[in-house]
Symmetry: C2
């Protein structure tokens, strides 16, 4: 029986606690300052307002004001805040961490360091913790297709737990694995974290196709879909992810399996990234599109904004080629400079062993 | 101006002729014996019954009885029959091939040779042609997300042309590339052909999830989707494709880009494979499910049946591990032995650098 404290009562962190609860562990779920209403309702009747489900009885909800008490003597600390909340989390858990605790992060994303490096979020967290504790705890993360509502419904869900510390992985697998929550493990934390960070922007990009065809005037009914367009973007997103993984020292196998292809696939099946993509594809400027989705975190947008500085610095410093990430950089311009959605497909797939398209004069009739 | 003859007037072969027609080339479209009604209507008013679109005027339709005339002096021969039609095609074009012609195949699939090898369809075709011509012509194929109706609607479509003969590739690219048809080239014909052959069975497998959740009784409304399930199968399909590509000597880059991930993605966006997958996922036996889709070629089924003998022989001969392709072999049992859809997810992802799931006793409440 293991004591687990999850920081952040959003859907993903809460859902992760279901298999651990089913395995009989003792779980404390601590909301952030943004989760006050969620925790209040949980304390009344254990109903989670956003998961729309009752949580197991061995998960005890706590308000953020009781964080210290909730963290005391936990063996595993889960971090379930969104990517913008990592700094808040580090500041608030730092004083209460105890030596030997295992931190497992569900938060997806990366950041640009001031020196122009891409930093995975577990390393960001570590860098923000007090010096006297940051190397006395161990860090892990999760990647793979895991929509929260489905996991909480105990649907078959397959993920990879990752850590540089190979010893923590079987411990975590034992705590969380069930007949429906299938957990592989890997020490390729770079590969996993790059994949799960990039799935959001690339899923947003895949979502553009639906908007482009909707905005078409007049509509072409017989050719009414643009799946070829979306699929080429899916493939370029995965290829750019592979490029980044290799550049940062991760393992290619991670890319064409669960954390890469699987997580990107699930993220294209609807959700906020896809909705924003559709609005942009229809021709709306980002500043207008975001007004149609008020108060919603769109991780794809946040990720592009967070990593663009490092990408640009790496290009300036000649560490990566200027033509290496055409999809990502187009997306950045669409989001931040109001550029139209008009991909130069011929600029894609240029870092693989393919010969590029021949641009020909077009004799269309 | 290039003379092109496409054998087979199905949607895919016909759609491929649109960009070539837009580039001003002279095209003859020859139906098979199965295309008589299609050709008859095309000859009346150039309307293609299945593409639901008028074909360009520089594409001339021919009945199969005029095959010899249609092939005479063609520079490029397209093969657009389905996978079962390759033997028919070889038999009928063999007597009429001329030295120097370039054969480009859109047909997807592989076959098992009597000696237990997996053979890509261009090599199958070559082996069936008369000895005096088979090495006097050149062979190419196509991979990548290219739904026929969208290509014929001149939607952005991105593909890879492939051949062992690097010299034919720029020729083909020049003939077919347009502002909407983006064509890369690669000499990794093994990688491309394995990817496009396997996309059909694995897309069918992804389609099972929709059926499994539909058949659920009582339905769980809050967790009403099974995208995690489908995405894990997507990832396993791509991982098994990578395994086969590597085993057969192809290039991994092909897998996580257009022909692999891109083509698999597009094939999961609806279509016959997905429909069959859903019926099987609902619990129907294959023999019953196929009655709900009469007279339809389901390439995913045909591919599994065609390659299973070679897979089994390779395992028996110890060339590949018995646990190497759990998804494909489950699918084979579902299709041919009426096995229920009940994947052992923990057996997946075992040929990557992941540590396998720990199977734990489940304390579900």
């Amino acid at each position: 029986m293991t004591r687990i404290t999850m920081i952040g009562a959003g859907v993903m962190g809460t859902a992760l606690m279901f298999p651990a609860a089913d395995n009989g562990h003792e779980i404390k779920l601590v909301g952030t300052h943004l989760d006050e209403a969620i925790i209040k309702r949980l304390q009344q009747d254990r109903y989670h307002l956003r998961l729309q489900r009752t949580i197991p009885s061995n998960i005890t909800p706590y308000q953020h004001t009781d964080l210290a008490e909730a963290m005391r003597d936990a063996e595993i600390i889960g971090i379930g805040v969104n990517s913008r909340g990592v700094h808040w989390a580090a500041e608030h858990i730092g004083p209460h961490l105890q030596e030997g605790q295992i931190i497992i992060m569900v938060t997806k994303g990366m950041e640009s360091s001031p020196s122009g490096e891409l930093v995975i979020l577990p390393d960001v967290l570590r860098s923000l913790l007090p010096a006297n504790i940051r190397d006395q705890v161990r860090y892990a993360a999760i990647g793979g297709p895991s929509i929260a509502g489905e996991l909480a419904a105990r649907r078959h869900t397959s993920v990879v737990f990752t850590s540089r510390d190979a010893e923590v992985l079987p411990i975590l697998q034992s705590v969380f694995a069930t007949s429906y929550y299938h957990v592989w493990s890997s020490t390729d934390i770079i590969g996993v974290e790059v994949c799960v960070a990039m799935k959001n922007p690339y899923a947003l990009a895949v979502g553009l196709a639906a908007g482009v065809v909707e905005a078409e005037n007049p509509p072409d009914v017989a050719g009414a879909k643009m799946h070829n367009y979306a699929a080429a973007i899916f493939a370029q997103g995965l290829a750019e992810t592979a490029f980044l993984v290799q550049h940062l020292g991760g393992n290619l196998q991670t890319v064409f399996s669960l954390p890469g292809a699987g997580d990107l696939y699930v993220t294209t099946q609807g959700g906020r990234n896809s909705r924003m993509g559709r609005l942009l594809g229809m021709g709306k400027r980002y500043s207008d599109a975001v007004e149609e989705m008020p108060n919603e975190t769109i991780e794809g947008v946040d990720a592009v904004v967070a990593i663009a500085p490092a990408i640009e610095q790496m290009i300036t410093a000649g560490q990566i080629a200027a033509d290496a990430l055409p999809l990502l950089r187009s997306l950045h311009r669409i989001l931040t400079r109001g550029e139209n959605v008009d991909f130069d497909f011929d600029s894609f797939f240029n870092k693989l062993s393919f010969n590029p398209p021949i641009r020909t004069e077009d004799n269309e009739r």
